[in-house]
Amino acid sequence: MKVSVSVNGGQVDADVADRTLLVHFLRDVVGLTATNVGCDTSSCGACTVLLDGKSVKSCTVLAGQADGCEITTAEGLSADHGEMHEVQRAFREEHALQCGFCTPGMVMATVSLLAENPTPTEDEVRSALEGNLCRCTGYHNIVRAVLAAANERRTS
């Protein structure tokens, strides 16, 4: 089937098998490999991207379902000259990543959270990230990073 998807602001037209998952479309067809596959039961969130501005698990969306939609991946967050998005900066500042595998999905979930709830409490942050599994960090610094990013946005 033919799909036409806007990815990080650029149009991508492709002919893919009907059963192509959005995550594989992004990784293998568009060539953006930051978004990772971490499970097969829609549990881990490593594949989280924004679809029309909302966080979704791209392993549980068909490329066909994303036809005509706008996708934002972690690669699309940084400005053109490579400067990090405020959420990415906060993740670095707070040591919120170790192996990095869950990180793009975690960052996109965070971006979506802050768009919907700009001033979350710690509990709200933890609940909002329950669909993003991390095995390295224990979430402690991830929560700090999210709160720091929210704070930076608020004070700037």
């Binding site: 971490g38 599994l133 224990g138």
Partner: protein
Amino acid sequence: MSILGTRVVRTEDPRLLTAGGTYVDDLRVPELARASRVTFVRSPIAHALITGIDVSAARAAPGVVAVLTAADLDDLPPPPEDSGLTGTEGAPLPLGGPWGEPLFAVDRVRFVGEPIAIVITDDRYQGEDAAELVNVDYEPLPAVVGFDAALAGASLLFPSAGSNVAVNGAKEADAATFEGCDVVVEHTIENQRLAPVPMEGRAAAAHWAAGKLTVWASTQNAQIARFILAGALGLDPGSIRVVAPDVGGGFGAKIGVDRDALLVAWAAKHTGVTVKWSETRSENLLAMTHGRAQRQVIKIGGSRDGRILAYRLEIVQDTGAYPRMGGFLPFLTSLMAVGPYDIGKVEAGYRVVVTNTAPISAYRGAGRPEATAAIERAVDLFATEIGMDAADVRRINLVPPEKFPFASPCGAVYDTGAYAEALDKVLAGAGYQELRAEQARRREGGDVLQLGIGVASYVEITAADAAGGETARLDVHGDGTATVYTGSSAHGQGHHTAWAMLVQAELGIDMSKVTVVHGDTDLIPTGVGTYASRSLQLGGVAVQKAAVDVKEQARRVAADMLEASESDLELDIERGAWHVRGDPEASRTWGQVAEHAGEEGLTASVNYTEGQPTFPFGTHLALVEVDTETGKARLLRHVTVDDAGTVLSPLLAEGQRHGGIAQGVAQALLEEMVYDPSGNPVTGTLVDYAIITAAELPSFELLRSETPATINPLGAKGIGEAGTIGATPALQNAVIDAVSHLGVRHIDMPVTPARVWAAMSEARDGQ
């Protein structure tokens, strides 16, 4: 002021955040441009004879390049002769002989998930389709699941071995051990089977061309991987290159390469087709090695004043279908059995049994969490029996400062420690007395929500294989930059940042100018890699020594340039400049010195083998709230001291502690890899295998404690596994403590709501 010990953000992060890491499945190197995809056909049955394999339908499926089975394994060297290992040698080596593990299952399968065949296709999607078409005939055999079934031996996994007991390191009980104990408590407990679940599963890619094999593997040890590949495939190590790209977590389960990755490499060599493989999460839960799985009989004895006089630990280790590590894990458990306590008489022994389940191997802590969990349960049981506060009992029995280095009755020599201080620091930090008071209030009021306070003191062994050393090479270039080639192999630990900090601290070359390289056997032929919490105390020390060596070389060169004597030369660390003492204006930069150093440049290589195992220690306190109507426990606070000597990077050290704590809490509360009696995995996906999420954890309270190691110049011990070791028993003890006033003495992990409720019901019915 030195950069060491200060808060430095990671150099690894900008790339990981903006472009994502490059894990095996992301590789876009030219050799892999047209790689085909490997999909495994795995046994759906736990124990059976294979009576036939029909690959004809699979071979005809769309996109299939090849289908390979055991019948194709005709180009491998014969398996090594029986090494004669008994498994009690204290080495992480597989038992050969009758217990040997094949690459493909040949005529017998021994666990669900065991590889039977490989399908090679043009793309991944075709691979799953084609794999379904491989037709295997099985003649089921009775499955052996659980310790009792294994010991009973009615069904044998390896008939020629005559038993399911693969290793016998049992210690006979000596009646004299518990003589003189007024109080003796005995209990059988279980340290349950876990799945490591790194967020990136296993993955490998392989390319065979012109007699050279290149393997990209999600591994913690490229050099060890090469060694294993050479042996398994009958190749000279010099004709193999192993590259570890970014690795999405390992936790001990990605040491070297396992049989699945070996099959991928072999397939490339056998067919000449370049291949890529990355497993699904279901495969990962089935067939990546699991961890823990010990049944423990604990016996503790002492006097009513709180003194512990004797302790016995009897272990049955379930090693799964193949004894890949011999008796190494329970050997470590036995070595650390006595924990941080000064107990006069200790007996610890083990047997290892095979079962029709996935093989067991290292998982964060690897044998030491099991030791700590056992004795911490025993201490709590003893405290309850004599009616003394569990923290007080610990304090009475912890090895006092004047006894270091402490030769434990288990054979370990603890280097440095301040155990009681760690305990008291945590108790103070948690507000222990106030917590006990609140607990008492709630008990008095019969509150539905009861508080539980769990304490665990631990000591653990890091760099247990210090004798194997670690390597570092440092080059300083003519443009003033430097490159470190390290034998260590970070998969999240931040070595690139830490090693750059070491170079900056020693040489004054700014971190931003230091590139760290790891995990490529072409560039780093000798090295050990990262496990056993060894990297800082061995690999980091090696980097520092290389830097010191380079500094002395530079001194000679700079002296020549400045026409002064070496003893008059000074290195201004702040500026990274060499000058004659008293004349800072006339200085030479590192780049200038390197240029002047001649053809060889400034370079030093170190293989640091003088390290020894070190013994980090600490105390964890968990505060839980248990809903006594539902049995559900919630972790409210977690307070720790994890003392691993001098801290090089507080940021990295805290991160390791956080991650370990989360995994430790998860073992206590949520995780268990379960098989049904037929050997079918019940917790085969992340829906059922419950790893912990952000919503189930609080932020942690980490207290500072640094008791330097004396064996290395960095004063460093290993921090990577401490969190896991301390957190699990603290949580388990806390939940049991919450309902101990109702008569509950023990609940096996994971202490799920159903188990807590069952324990409460049983205690109530028994009264």
